[in-house]
């Protein structure tokens, strides 16, 4: 979460995560009413907002990192923030800041279709999400319209760590791989190396770890956030092989 506890720490985190082997970073822009998020990310967003984090400041921080950071940055945020600044302006400034893609969890296929072309015209991938409740035909349409990769939500629920990963996720990965050539990344509920190995066995191209990482950052002593996050990232990377 950008700005949790402050943007200087976020900058440090991005650099250390790349060093630790992260393939890409999904960076949250804090929003007051994050419907798809569980308590860990909600609290991180509250802390980031309390420290005065704005979209503009996050994009300035990313612009300053251009050249120092080579992995793709994906922004995770909610529709109202995009509407406020305007989709064209949002995409153009995100692109200028070196952002590669966008995940907007309250923007399902029907609403996303209106803005995906705008994102594409600025070179940004609007990544769409598929849920375990998504019927097969709809899953196919989503993966056909997603850009960059398809984000498979592994749980019926909000973001947050889960002790076990349901085996039906394996079937969903397979189904998605059959319906489109786009890579598939699994997220929501992945808490550690074991689940990463499992997701890999199922044939997913990527695993997205949110709450488990955000929790470690929140619990780290001041100044050690990036180190804790990087150590965790290495464990995850090892599990991914």
């Amino acid at each position: 979460m950008a700005g949790d506890p402050d943007l200087k720490t976020s900058e440090d985190l991005l650099l250390k995560l790349e060093e630790a082997g992260a393939d890409m970073v999904e960076l949250g822009i804090p929003y007051s009413d994050p419907l798809a998020d569980g308590p860990v990310i909600q609290e991180a967003a509250s802390r980031a907002l309390s420290s005065g984090t704005t979209l503009k400041a996050v994009l300035e921080m990313l612009s300053a990192l251009k050249g120092k950071l080579s992995i793709p940055i994906i922004l995770f945020t909610y529709t109202n923030l995009l509407l406020t600044i305007g989709m064209e302006e949002f995409c153009s400034s995100a692109f200028n800041a070196g952002v590669s893609g966008l995940v907007v969890p309250d923007l399902p296929l029907e609403e996303a279709l209106r803005i995906s072309p705008i994102a594409s015209s600025y070179g940004l991938d609007l990544i769409l999400l598929v849920a375990p409740t998504t019927p097969p035909e709809r899953m196919k349409r989503i993966s056909e319209n997603s850009k960059g990769f398809t984000y498979l939500v592994s749980v019926t629920g909000v973001t947050g760590e889960r002790a076990v990963m349901e085996d039906r996720v394996g079937g969903l990965v397979k189904q998605l791989k059959q319906s489109s050539s786009l890579p598939v990344a699994v997220g929501f509920g992945i808490s550690g190396p074991d689940q990463i190995s499992k997701v890999k066995t199922w044939g997913a191209d990527g695993a997205i770890v949110g709450s488990a990482l955000v929790k470690r950052i929140a619990q780290a002593s001041s100044g050690l956030e990036a180190k804790e996050a990087a150590d965790f990232c290495k464990q995850l990377k090892d599990a991914a092989g």
């Binding site: 509250s46 509407l83 029907e110 909000v158």
Partner: protein, 416 residues
């Protein structure tokens, strides 16, 4: 008033079958801004509702329970002393109250709770969740869940639980679990977010009885259609009482369900003025208010595009109102649409004006209205002097004030 009436093309837009559009839009408002997990459930709900309305078993059962359990139809009551209070030497309007406060559980909310509970039964969902602000929708939902033996969890902000302790206890008596929400401002907005998160997690077993004409499609339509009975009865009762359509409809607007229920059957009767009264809290200029249409900017909250109280960054702002039921930074998308095309007028009154109105109506009519409802009454101060003799005004008396007695006593400096 001709200048505020919609043009001909706007009238065509107002045809009932065009509202909302197939994609759930009222003009540019509405839509479905929710996590993908919920999309199949919203489609299932829309289909179930469409089939239910065509099924005489469903509509007969709904009518029967509205009659025998809720106590409908509610009277259209001529408020003679209130009328006299506002009459001038040259006369003045006649004031009628649509007595939704006489419904079982004390407010209009049960019309929708009952309808959605019947729908949940049809869909085979045995667990019900709801959000509540003032507690009226929570009580109505807990009531119908008790009636049908459904498990019930009501999300309520901690601040609202404190303000509405009586309703919290009522829900518990009815067998519901009241889940406190401490996130954010601990009011209706946060309770709604938490209910949506519960639904995202338990969507396969659970039906979410949303309590206002807000949220993602099909909720604004679904809730409106269950409350439209208010306007349908009013239409008939006006004919019986004075042989024509009323001139003005007046109702308070938080999310806007009681107002929409009253307005809906009159929307195409463009000579009937519709006025929604929002909560101005300490005053719209103080920043401490809940006057969403009056002061808000278009945004997305809880799944729908509508007017929204938000800062210049797009972060949703805290709303303020003496009335927990109006303390919400959003508003139903169809109200935003009516405001934009000029079909309805939206105004705001302060906490103080609402308190004064609550006392006035109590003393003149022997009816203690809810603090929410008192906002609609308060607008009579501004409206009546502008209306000539022979004008007929219908106020939706949406709820009774028993639940607010502690708050009112405190504001008036009375130690109970």
């Amino acid at each position: 008033m001709s200048s505020t009436l919609p043009s001909k093309s706007k009238n065509d837009d107002l045809a009932a079958n065009a509202r909302p559009s197939a994609s759930g839009r009222f003009g540019r408002f509405g839509g479905q801004y929710v996590p993908e997990t919920l999309m199949p459930a919203l489609a299932e709900l829309e289909l179930a509702a469409a089939e239910a309305w065509k099924d005489p078993f469903f509509t007969d059962e709904l009518s029967r329970l509205l009659r025998s359990y809720v106590g409908r139809s509610t009277p259209l009551y001529e408020a003679e002393r209130l009328t006299a209070h506002y009459s001038r030497a040259d006369g003045g309007p006649r004031i009628w109250l649509k007595r939704e406060d006489l419904n079982h559980t004390g407010a209009h909310k049960i019309n929708n709770a009952l309808g959605q509970a019947l729908l949940a039964l049809r869909m085979g969902k045995k667990r019900i969740i709801a959000e509540t602000g003032a507690g009226q929708h929570g009580v109505a939902t807990a009531t119908v869940c008790a009636r049908f033996g459904l498990e019930c969890v009501v999300y309520m902000g901690e601040e609202d639980m404190r303000r509405q302790a009586l309703n919290v206890f009522r829900m518990k008596l009815l067998g519901a679990k009241v889940q406190p929400v401490s996130a954010g401002t601990a009011t209706l907005k946060d309770a709604t977010s938490e209910a949506i998160r519960d639904w995202v997690t338990n969507v396969e077993s659970t039906h979410y009885i949303l309590g206002s004409v807000a949220g993602p499609h099909p909720y604004p339509m679904l809730v409106r259609d269950f409350h439209a009975v208010i306007g349908q009865e009013t239409l008939r009762q006006c004919q019986e009482a004075f042989g024509r359509l009323p001139d003005v409809l007046l109702a308070c607007v938080g999310g806007g369900s009681n107002a929409m229920g009253l307005f809906h059957p009159f929307v195409q009767q463009t000579n009937v003025r519709m006025i929604g009264v929002e909560a101005a809290g300490d005053g719209v200029l103080t920043g401490r208010h809940a006057a969403t249409i009056t002061e808000g900017r278009i945004g997305v909250l809880h799944g729908a595009m509508s007017y929204l109280l938000q800062d210049d960054q797009g972060q949703v702002q805290e709303a303020h109102s003496i009335s927990a039921g109006l303390d919400y930074p959003g508003v139903g998308p169809e109200h935003s649409y009516f405001a934009e095309i000029g079909r309805a007028e939206y105004v705001a009154v302060t906490d103080k004006e609402a308190l004064n109105a609550l006392q006035l109506v109590s003393e003149l009519e022997g009816i203690i209205p809810a603090l929410e409802t008192a906002h609609a009454f308060a607008w009579l101060e501004k409206l009546c002097p502008t209306l000539g003799s022979g004008k007929e005004v219908v106020i939706n008396c949406s709820g009774r004030g028993d639940k607010d007695v502690n708050t009112v006593a405190q504001k008036l400096g009375v130690d109970l």
